[in-house]
Amino acid sequence: MLTKSPKSIALDEREGGGEQSPHARLLLSLDRLFKVGPYYPPGHAATRRVTSDFKNVMAHLLGQQDTLVFRMKAGVLHVQDEMLDDSWPGVLDFQTLLLQLGVDHLEIDGDASVEDLLTFVSRFLAFRNEVAGVKHFRHMKYDGLPPSVRIGEKQFRTGIALGSTGGEDQDQDGTFLLDEPEGLGGLDEILNEGADPGCVHGAETINEGIDAARESSADPTLDDARVVAAPPRLAENKKPVASGLGELIGGFESGQEQDIRSRALESVELMIQKLGRSKRSGRHADFLGTDTESAGERQTRTLQKMPGEQKDSPQEQPEKPKEVFLMSLPELRDALGEYAGKATEIEYGNEQDETEHLSIIFQMLMDKQPPDVLTSIERKLDLVFNRTLPPQEREVCVAGVQSLVTAEDEAARHRGLSLVLNRFRKARTESVIRLLDDVCERCHDESRNSLWPFVVNELLLGNDTDDLPCFHRLCLRAGEMDLEVMREQAPQLRKLPAMKKGLFSDDVLQPPLVELYPVFSVLLEAAHPGPIAVKLVRGLKLDPPGTIGESVMPLIDTYKHSYREFLVELLASGHRNRPPKSLLEIAGRVLANDLLALSPKRRGEEWVPGTIASLAEIPVPHAEKILKTITGRRFLFLINTWPKPCRNAARDTRKKIRLAALAAEAAREVAEDPDRAFTKLKSESDS
């Protein structure tokens, strides 16, 4: 994070007026230029737009000035000497690019043409590609730039105070990309091979500094790396090494053999890099969002002496730079005292608080987990659910299940919900029905759809019916679901214990709960509905729904595939007062097929006359023939095969049917020709 200087302009400060600062707009337009410019031909509308935008913003910012100047100061990008906030769009990218290329400043003339700007952008991107992945130092040639765009390369500054603990050091973090040249051999080469006098003088000065450091440390084995890592001692030299560096660089600029120059530069860079290395901020500082560099802390990598090992004499211990603190001790004391005071306000028991553990488990279950993790989660949930949950833990369970329902990974969602609800149910300390009711209450429609199989599963298992109002509320929720959704979710339900193992509660199925009729209807639609079909038939016979149910269900002894259509339709509409036509038709077919097939023994059962009578209401194919058979069939021409109540019922029903037919005929005639119908009726009446 950048520390804002008083002169820096933060976007948020400007945003108070609802408008971005010109600096921010400039960087944004430059960012667009870099993103669009190289990929479209110069005349393209996109390039025209971004270049003209950049030029407009630039002109606005420049006012009377001729040249726009980007400059890196202490690793931070400035425009026209204004420090930019790196949270602005484009600032960080451009700043990084300049750092990568070792650019100190960049000048763009206010009258730069569109072509110049596009050339500048494409050349800069080419430069970046050139340095990408470079491991060794080499001098970059910034060629091909238009005259209206000029860059100043980063220079080794002669004023580097090696002993400084200040935070400013812009030559760091990959500005020059080097591998690790060991030692300062490059300086020696300059001295040995005879180079420019200024350059030689500089190198000599540095070597003198190193020798002086060795002497002053009383450690003849002090290596180069340790020397450069000991800035305070170097700084004590009478002849500042820094000025030597300046002379050395001056020598380079006056012209040297390329390879000597490179090696020498490597040596110098090594020194600077070593100094810079101690200045990197730590990852935890990033995490804390705190700029540790701002404190100007530097410390060399020194091994701490352990007690019992040889101790450094005071002379040997390098002088450590003082830490810079941002708060006075009293301020810190006050702040810490406030925290410490809070610590005394509460008692820390060793009480069980599983809210976090439950939260983590639910979050883990959102993703696919290996079997050992799932097994372990089961065990841990058993421990947690083995007691009555405090409200906050129960709350996490509700929110956790709600969250699990939304898991993107369907397999993980199914596995996670199954696992949690199984453990919850088995613990028997809490009501899983109530938990699901609470979850449903908070869920959106889509989540409720995903939760539906689990709700139905629990209802079918039905071993948690202590809270009846809640149980019925959940039944209603399950039954109110759109039939299409139920059909979509039914495969998931079949994987759950109730359907998979045929574990159905009599509370739900003997007789089937009316609220769940639609659910059962969907379940019976499957080609092989399994044990639930048998249970349903048994349950429906106990309390058949409506007149159709009362008439037909007694006829159905056990579940057969041929009944599926009727049962599905009956359950889908069975609780309605007026049965739909489709149900009547299917019921009629069942009666037509099965009534006459009743065994002689069953024909004496109480319900049979009623069912026969229902033929007057239900459109049974060949009803007349069926009824006639019932009334007239005899065994050996003497013994009636149907009991008398059945025959009577059949006889009455035939009459009703005939009358109904006549009435229908009359009604039809009246509808077709009322006068003729009236005349006919009158003549029949007279006769």
Binding site: E297, P307, E356, H357
Partner: protein, 457 residues
């Protein structure tokens, strides 16, 4: 002039660890096999010796008649190897080459039980083509290399007295380091965690620190650059235990807390070294990968039936901020346990006060500044408890007082600035004999009590 072979010991230990995980030709093993001879030559040139002898006495490494306590803590694999070889140390000749080192690491990673005698071990080394690493007889043997003429004048055959308390602490630390290292290595290899061992060592730590944390806190500050996640975990466990004790947590909870500290970073075992040990800033992708270590660690622990939920939560939540930031991203409904938040405080405090390849150690004062200024990062109560237990000068810190005396902090005082100090040297800087060491409570109501002048880091 003595030179500490710390880096060489670290290389040897790391070589053994890496060879346990990777095949002999693996670049990671090869890198260490090649760098050790180079480092050795450089070391010998500086020290003016022809060879390096690392003695091993009672699982402690010895160099030039002095116990190497820090290296012994991280070098337990080396001392264990010496025990298995029935030897009293290793003599590394300057001409030892990379192939021999690879064979040395291979042997160390393969050997599972002690050999019958030293001659067998020497034959084994010869059989493996290791000619330039010699095995010394054990310390009590007159032939022990420590008595060779090479070291005449530097080593008189007698080891300096060791401090019993410190040695006990050293073994404790050695075991803690090894427990964490083994856990991390095992996880990398896909082995099951040895939770029983972690529990056992945590129990020892809880018991071993009943008298205070001074000794052990000094010991664990060995800067293990190459394996710093291990040292970090041990130190976090120690800090958490210290704070937990100050809260009067019961022993079982304390033990769980300690285990959670030891294992909180086990997920880093699954993070590539190139990211884990990258010296500079991580880019976005690398950071994303790095941040998975919390979740991965929790899943590793969750997969172990004996791991406690606190350990799982410690791994999961040690980068979660109190205000809901950090990672893994927490949903609004997620609960936080006080002890996990305490672990987060310990984790950040340790990370900032420790040396890292990419950062210097900060003083506790600076760290507290950072922590209190980062509003919302920490649970105020957890930070408060931490401040009360650790203070500005954690136990084990070395101090200079305003009257010129020096000592070691044995406990935090009621005032964070005024700890209890064991004075070890007088105003002139002369070390006091052990019987004259005395404790001064800087927070006591007495006149003329000195204050803290400087923290020696």
């Amino acid at each position: 002039m003595k030179h500490d072979p710390d880096e060489l010991v670290i290389l040897l230990t790391r070589g053994i660890s890496q060879r346990k995980m990777y095949f002999a030709e693996h670049p990671k093993v090869a890198a260490i096999s090649h760098s050790f001879p180079k480092e050795l030559v450089s070391f010998l040139e500086q020290s003016g010796s022809k060879s390096l002898f690392l003695g091993v006495v009672d699982r402690k490494l010895v160099y030039h008649g002095t116990y190497l306590i820090g290296p012994s803590i991280v070098g337990s694999k080396l001392s264990e190897f010496a025990e298995f070889l029935r030897c009293g140390g290793f003599l590394f000749q300057s001409v030892v080459h990379a192939d021999e080192m690879t064979q040395f690491f291979t042997l160390a990673s393969e050997i599972a039980e002690p050999l019958a005698h030293l001659a067998e071990a020497r034959a084994l080394l010869r059989e493996r083509g290791i000619r330039n690493i010699e095995l010394s007889p054990v310390y009590e043997d007159p032939e022990h290399f420590g008595g060779l003429s090479d070291f005449a004048g530097e080593f008189n055959g007698e080891l300096a007295d060791d401090n019993d308390g410190q040695m006990a602490g050293m073994f404790l630390c050695q075991n803690l380091y090894d427990t964490v290292d083994t856990a991390h290595t095992g996880s990398t290899m896909g082995y099951s965690l040895d939770i029983d061992r972690a529990r056992e060592e945590s129990g020892k730590l809880v018991d071993g620190t009943r008298e205070g944390f001074m000794d052990i806190m000094q010991l664990v500050h060995y800067p293990d650059f190459d394996t710093y996640t291990v040292g970090h975990s041990v130190r976090v466990a120690l800090l958490a235990t210290l704070v937990g004790k100050s809260m009067n947590l019961n022993d079982e909870t304390l033990l769980e807390l300690c285990m959670a500290g030891l294992l909180h970073d086990v997920g880093k075992s699954q993070i590539p070294d190139e990211i884990l040990f990258k010296p500079g800033r991580l880019d976005v992708e690398e950071r994303d990968i790095m941040e998975t270590h919390a979740r991965i660690g929790a899943e590793i622990l969750m997969g172990h039936e004996k791991a406690s939920m606190l350990a799982v939560a410690g791994a999961w939540g040690h980068h979660l901020r109190s205000d809901g930031g950090g990672y893994p991203k927490a949903p609004e409904w997620a609960g936080r346990h006080f002890l996990t938040q305490l672990l987060q405080v310990c984790d950040v405090f340790e990370a900032l006060t420790a040396i890292r390849p990419y950062k210097p150690p900060f003083s506790p004062r600076r760290v507290y500044e950072i922590m209190v200024q980062d509003e919302g990062a920490f649970d105020p109560t957890a930070l408060g408890v931490f401040v009360r237990a650790v203070g500005l000068y954690p136990p084990g810190s070395r101090l200079v007082l305003t009257d010129g005396t020096r000592g070691i902090v044995t406990a935090a005082g009621n005032d964070p600035e005024k700890p209890v100090v064991l004075i070890q040297s007088d105003r002139e800087g002369n070390e006091l004999p052990a019987e004259m060491h005395h404790e001064v409570d800087l927070d006591a109501e007495a006149e003329d009590l000195p204050a803290v002048e400087e923290l020696l880091m």
